[in-house]
Structure formats: structure tokens, C-alpha cells
Symmetry: C2
Subunit: 236 residues, 2 copies
């Protein structure tokens, strides 16, 4: 089927399955399904039983946690190739975050049973999983660090640079972010208020270091932004 070819393509590009043999990929692809997701949709919520694993084909999903007052922080943002929802499948605990779609797209869904079976039959899958989790842990650790130490400016600068890594660079060295990001999404991702992000962006716009190109943020003076991000430089 042509459908399968698409899927195998995607899976092969994802963090988790990239190292797998074609047969293993085919096995996984045939056990999952693809579905559309639309902006605002909630894929799962805290406390839900974990009955599936997801891989993003296109679009963007935010994994976040809420306070009872409705404040939200994004723990991770998943884009093409990103795999999430696997924690519950590994340890059987209920979901510990909410997953909400912030940019419409397509999603690959793998059932609990299929995942466990794949884990047990193909050792390379569990090795790949270990790497995925390691990377995620490092990212989260960095998030903890920046939330607790850095001021808003550096945190935002770092986020923009991280997003820019998958953006397009123009010939004059400017970088256009790969999609539209609302200020409130940016705020959630750095644990700040929407207003503060707005003010910081306004300031940088006035300074001419960033700008807008049809709704997308453009990093104009990347060096300056790097300075801001490193301001509180942590050795590495």
C-alpha cells in the first residue's frame, strides 16, 4: 500500500525508530494508524490511562502541566519525528502531562499492545527507546536549570535559538522561524506570562534584533541574541 510507504518514511525519520531494520519498521507501521489532528485538540490529559504511543508526522504538539488555577508550562514541544506518550506504556503509570495540538497536522498512533510486543521482540527498539529517554531527560534538566536560574530575557533568547535550529536562513544571515508561534505558546515554554513575553519581544523589535515576516518571527541579529542567551553562561 502507498499508505505504508508514507508511514515507513516517517518512522524512519523519527527519533525512536530511525535505527530499526525495514522489517521492524514495517511491523510497527502495520500495527499503528495515522490520523489527522486539529489545533486545540487534546490528545490526552493528566491521569488518563496510557494506552497508546504517538509520533508526530506534521504539526506540533505541546506536552504540558497545569496548576489548578490554569497556569501552564510546556515540558516539551513535539514536531515531525517526535515520539511521545511512551512513559505510560513503559511503567504503566497514568499520563503525567497533557498533550495538546498547537499546530494542526498528522499523527501516528501505536497501541499499547503493539508497542510492548515490538519492545519485546526487537532488542534494538528498546535501545532506541533508551536513547530517546536519555535525550529527553537532558532536555528537561536544562529546562529546570533555565527556569530556576535565568531571567526572562535569556530564557526567551534560548528558546528562539532552539526553534530557529529548524528554521530557514536567508542570505544575510537572518533566520526565519519554521512556523507561527503565538506569544502565549512561547510563554508556556519558558514559564513566563504572556505579557512579559510581549514586552520583551517589543523591546527587541525596537532594538532591531528581531522582526516579523508574514506572521513568523525573524531573528535578524543572531549574534546579539546569542549574547543574550549566553549572558548567564553555564559551562559545558
Amino acid at each position: 500500500m502507498t499508505e505504508d510507504a508514507d508511514l515507513i518514511d516517517l518512522l524512519g525519520a523519527s527519533d525512536m525508530f530511525e535505527a530499526l531494520s525495514p522489517e521492524a519498521l514495517a511491523l510497527i507501521a502495520s500495527n499503528g494508524r495515522k490520523r489527522a489532528m486539529k489545533r486545540g485538540e487534546v490528545l490526552f490529559s493528566v491521569g488518563d490511562p496510557g494506552d497508546a504511543l504517538f509520533a508526530v508526522c506534521s504539526g506540533r504538539v505541546l506536552l504540558s502541566r497545569f496548576t489548578s488555577e490554569g497556569k501552564e508550562i510546556a515540558l516539551a514541544a513535539m514536531e515531525r519525528g517526535g515520539v511521545f506518550g511512551e512513559l505510560s506504556l513503559i511503567d504503566g503509570e497514568p499520563r503525567s502531562a497533557d498533550a495538546a495540538v498547537v499546530e494542526a497536522g498528522e499523527l501516528f498512533v501505536l497501541s499499547r499492545a503493539a508497542f510492548r510486543q515490538a519492545l519485546e521482540t526487537d532488542v534494538s527498539i528498546s535501545m532506541a527507546m533508551l536513547e530517546v529517554l536519555s535525550r529527553r531527560l537532558r532536555v528537561t534538566n536544562r529546562l529546570v536549570e533555565s527556569v530556576s536560574f535565568l531571567e526572562l530575557g535569556p530564557r526567551l533568547a534560548r528558546l528562539l535559538l532552539a526553534i530557529a535550529a529548524s528554521g530557514t536562513t536567508t542570505e544575510d544571515g537572518e533566520i526565519v522561524l519554521p512556523a507561527r508561534y503565538t506569544q502565549s505558546e512561547l510563554a508556556k515554554r519558558i514559564a513566563a506570562s504572556r505579557e512579559s513575553v510581549s514586552k520583551q519581544i517589543a523591546q527587541w523589535s525596537r532594538d532591531g534584533v528581531i522582526g516579523q515576516r508574514d506572521g513568523k518571527i525573524v531573528l535578524i541579529d543572531v549574534d546579539r541574541i546569542n549574547e543574550w542567551a549566553d549572558d548567564m553562561e553555564l559551562e559545558l
Copy 2:
């Protein structure tokens, strides 16, 4: 050897190896070694190549990150049975945190080679590792959440309750923490300043909800502390 019996005991009690067969345990025990660690000792630092994995036999190790200004936040605290240092062995990246001994004790050290070999020969080890990493990720996610949302009081209350989980309960429902914790260690673990922790503890002592018993903190009115941990408003 009697030495091996000790080790196997410990490993069998640790997060990571508890599910293993006696043979696998013996294999691991014979490939690692036990050593003493003293307070203040640094086991590894950010940027070091990761050449070993550690399991705590006794004592306590803090995994933390620093700013260039010397501010520190603890990402995790490892006590008996805790396994750490495995990220680098999995993905080959350099260490991304510092590991420092805050309570003297004994440590089990497993070389990179022995660990990789164990991973590859015994599938149940990689499954156990997956669970360890999942749990760690959940803990870290909760840390992110509380650091970004909660005020100092609730953060500290939560930490005390978490530590108390392995403490001893008296007949009147009080809980004695399992060891001495300096205020500055507590501060690192909730991303706060030592002074603020001191003031909060003083306040609670005055209110009679916590106290001291030969250097160890005692939770007297656990219900009140639970209230504090849950919501961050109410009177003061």
C-alpha cells in the same frame, strides 16, 4: 566471597537491578566494585566523559547543575538503591550534571564496558533501565512544574513530605526525617536561597507544625503540611 553477597543484596534492592535473575546480578556484581565516598567529594562534573555508572549503597549524592555565578539546583538526590550516571553510558554524551556527596557512605561503581555488555546480553536489564528513566523523567517533570508555579512554601512542604516518605513515623503520627539535611541542601533542591528556607522553617517551627529531634527535622502536624503543599494561597 562475602563481599559478593553484600553487593548482590544491594543491587537486588536497587531501582535498576531488582528484577534481575541471580545470575545476572552476580555478573554485574563481579564486574563492578564497591568504594567509600566521603562528604563533599565530587564524583563527576559537567563535561566529563561518562565512563561509569553508580549505585548508592549508603549515604546520599546530589545531582545538580550550576550557573557560572555558583548558584546551584539539585536535579535529583540519590539514596540507597539509587542508580545514576547511566545517561552518558547510554547516549555517549558527556556528563550533564555534577554529582557531589552530601552524606558519606558507600558506592557501587560499574564500568562502561561492563554496563554495555550487561545491557546487550540481558534484555531484562534494558527493560529495567527504561523504567528507571521513566520514573526519573516523571520526577523531573514534577520538579519543573513546582519550580515554575509554586511559591517557596509549598515547594518546601512538598520536598519535606517526599523526604518523609522514607522516614520513621512515631506513634503520635509525627515523622522524623531519615537523615540530617542542611538548609542549603534543601534550598538547592527547591531552587531557593538558603535564607528563605531558613525563614520558612523558622515560621513553621513557631507555628508548631515542624520541629527538631537531634538535628533531624520532625514533621509534627503532617496534615497542615499537606495543606501547604497542595495550595499556595490561604492565610499566613
